[in-house]
Symmetry: C2
Amino acid sequence: MTRPTAIRRLNAADPQFARHLDHLLSWESVSDEAVNQRVLDIIAAVRERGDEALVEFTKRFDGLDVARMADLILPRERLELALTRISPEQRQALESAAARVRSYHEKQKQDSWRYTEADGTVLGQQVMPLDRAGLYVPGGKASYPSSVLMNAIPAKVAGVAEVVMVVPTPRGEVNELVLAAAAIAGVDRVFTLGGAQAVAALAYGTQSVPQVDKIVGPGNIYVATAKRHVFGQVGIDMIAGPSEILVVCDGQTDPDWIAMDLFSQAEHDEDAQSILVSPDAAFLDRVAASIDRLLPTLERAEIIRTSLEARGALIQVADLEQAITVANRIAPEHLELSVAEPEQWLPRIRHAGAIFLGRYTAEALGDYCAGPNHVLPTSGTARFSSPLGVYDFQKRSSIIFCSAEGASALGHTASVLARGESLTAHARSAEYRIKD
Amino acid sequence: MTRPTAIRRLNAADPQFARHLDHLLSWESVSDEAVNQRVLDIIAAVRERGDEALVEFTKRFDGLDVARMADLILPRERLELALTRISPEQRQALESAAARVRSYHEKQKQDSWRYTEADGTVLGQQVMPLDRAGLYVPGGKASYPSSVLMNAIPAKVAGVAEVVMVVPTPRGEVNELVLAAAAIAGVDRVFTLGGAQAVAALAYGTQSVPQVDKIVGPGNIYVATAKRHVFGQVGIDMIAGPSEILVVCDGQTDPDWIAMDLFSQAEHDEDAQSILVSPDAAFLDRVAASIDRLLPTLERAEIIRTSLEARGALIQVADLEQAITVANRIAPEHLELSVAEPEQWLPRIRHAGAIFLGRYTAEALGDYCAGPNHVLPTSGTARFSSPLGVYDFQKRSSIIFCSAEGASALGHTASVLARGESLTAHARSAEYRIKD
C-alpha cells in the first residue's frame, strides 16, 4: 500500500499527445452475447408471466425467501418508518439537500406557450409532465440515497403524478437511508425488485407493477442492457459509463485538496477516471506527492489506486488556454475549474456535464447538495447531452389552430410541396381548405 | 379497385373494446439477426477503412460508378444550382415554408440562466448548441424536401455551427428539390451516401466525412438499426415507427375532408395508421362512403387501401369526452380535433405529438408549412417524447460556483451524506472546504 501510485503523466507538447489522450479516454461498454440473451429471456418471461416471473427471479437472483408479489411491495408507511431509523443528523442532511435540489430544479420547469398570427392562426407548444416515471435504485454497495433524491425530485417538480421506485434487497438487506430519501423525495410506490426483471416490469407492467412512461436511474450491466432493449416501449435516461472528473488547476490550489477531489471520483469504482490538467509542472509533482501521502489513509485505497493507475492522468499544458482545449476534447462529466477568476473561462467551455468553478467548489458538494443534478453525461456524451433535469420528465405537443384565412394561405404552399413529393392525398387535403 | 374498402369498425361500448384497440395499435419494429449482423459489419468496416469502405459500399449498394470519395461530395455550389433547376413556384413554396418553420422554432430556443444565493454562491445552467449535427435524408421515393427543412432548420436555429447532410443517390438519381431545400435550410456540407455506411461515417468520422455529435432524420431498417448501434457514440433522434393520425370529429366536418385527411396519412406506406373517432355513427358511415368514392381517384390508391384495411379504423364513442380518453390511450403522432370549439379539449389532451385544432387545420398543413416540426413521436411514444425541436440541438451544463461561506455550509451536509454512503474521499474533499 505504500508504493508510489503509478499515475500516468502526459504533456500536451508531445507530438503524440492527441493519440495518447484518445487512448486514455477510449471506453466502450459492451454487453456480451450471453448477457444480452439472458436479459431478453428475462424480459420475455416478465411480459408473459408477470408477477409470477418477478417472484421467481427475485428468489433466484436476490436470494430472497418470498412467496408472493405482496412480499415485494413496500408501503408508504415503511418509507416513513425509515425516517425514524436514521440519525437526526442524517435526516437533516437529506432534507436540506432535497430542499436545495428542489429549488434549483424548479428553475428548469418549462411552460406552454402560444402566439397568434395576423390572420388569427394560433401556433404554440403545450408542455405536460409524464404520467408515470420509474426509478431504478441499485442494491448493495452502489445503493445511494443521494441518487434517489437526484432522480425522483426532478420528476416530482415536473409534475409527474406517480413515481415508482424499484430497489433490490439482496438477501433481505434494506438500506434505510435509501428508503428515507424516497420518503423525502415524494416517491409514491416502492417495489423491492432489481435487475432486468425490474426494468421489464416497469416497461410492460404486471398485475402489481404499473407500467411507466420513462425509466431512469443507474444499474449494473443487466439493468443497462435491459434499459437499452425496452427503449422505445418506454423512455430511458442515458446509459451511463464510468464516472469521470477533469480538474483544471492553475497551480495555486492546495495540492491536498486537488488530490482528494481526484480520489473522490476514483473511489466510485476501478473504471472511474480522474484527470488533472495544469500548466504548472511543479504543481503536478506536488499533487502526485499528496496522492502518495493521502492514499493510504483512505477506506477505498485499493479501488482508488487501481482506478488512478488504469485510467487516471496528470497532464501538463502550456497554459490555461490549452487546458480548456483539452477540456473540450474530453467533454468531461465533471469539470473543476480550480483557478483564479474561473468565470472568464466559462463561455469557452463547450462540453461538460457540470462545471465547478473556483477552489472552494469541490465536486462532492455538487454530488450531494449544491442543487444541480448529479446524474450527468459520461464518456464524452456531454457533446450532445445534458444533466438529468425536469425537462426529462416533461414532454411537448405542438399546437396548430388555423383560421379559415390562414388555412387557405398555407394550403397553397402545402399543395405545391406535397405535389413535389408525389403525395397527392396530402395536396388534396390541403386544397380542400383553400377558399375559392 | 372499386370494391368497398374493408376498414375496421370498432365501438367503445363493446366490452372487448380495450382488447381490440390494443390489437389495432400493436406494433413492434424488429431488426432481425441478419440485418443486425450486416449493419455491425458495415460499421466495423467504415471504422477501420474509412473513405475506402464508403466508396466500396456505395458502389455495391447504390449502384454508383464512383472511383473515389471526392465523387461523393456535393459542394455548396451544387445546392445553389438546384435552386435554379426547380420551378419558381416550388422555390417560393420552399422559402415560405422555411421562413415559417424558422420563425416557430426560434421560440423554442433556450437561454442560459443563473442566480446568486445570499452567501454569494452562484448556481445556473449554461446552454450551448451542439458543434456539429448529421442529417440523414433517404433516397428514392421517401426523399422528402420537407424533411430536410424540418431537420436542418432547428439545428441552425439552435446555433449548430455545421450541419452535414447525407443522402444516397441510387443509380445516380439526384432529387433537385431535396438539394434546393438543403440550400434554403443552410445545410453546410452534403455527401451522397446512404444506408448504415452513412450513419457509421457520421458517427465515427472518416478522412472526408466529419464526425458529428448527433444524427437525425428518417431511414429504412438498415439506417434505423445503425442509429441504434451508434447511440452513445453520438446522439440520435427517435427511432420512428410508421406514421399515424387520429381524427376526432363531432360529425359536423365535410366527410370528404375527413376521408382525405385519413388518406394523407395512409398514403405514406402500407404500415401507416389512420383512425377516425366520432360519437356520430351516421357520420362514420358517411366518411366510409367518401372513402369508397374518393379512393379510386388517388395516385396511391393501392397503398392507401392496404393501409386502411390493415391498420385503419372507424371508432364510435359515446361522446367527445370518451373520444379524448381514446386519444390519450393512443397517444397519437398526429391528432386532429375536427370539432366545434376545439380549444376546450386542449388541456385534457395528455399525449400527442402535434394537435391540429378545428376543421380547417388539416394535418398536411402542419406537415409542410404551418411552422411546427413534422418529425413527431410515433407508436405511442408521445407518452414520453416530444417533436423534434431546437432543444434537440442544444445541451446544458450545470454551473456551480461556491463562495467560501457557501462551500463551508454545503460541506457539512455533503460530509454527512457521503459518510452515509461510505464514500469517505467525497466526505474529506467536502470537509477540506469547511471553515474552522
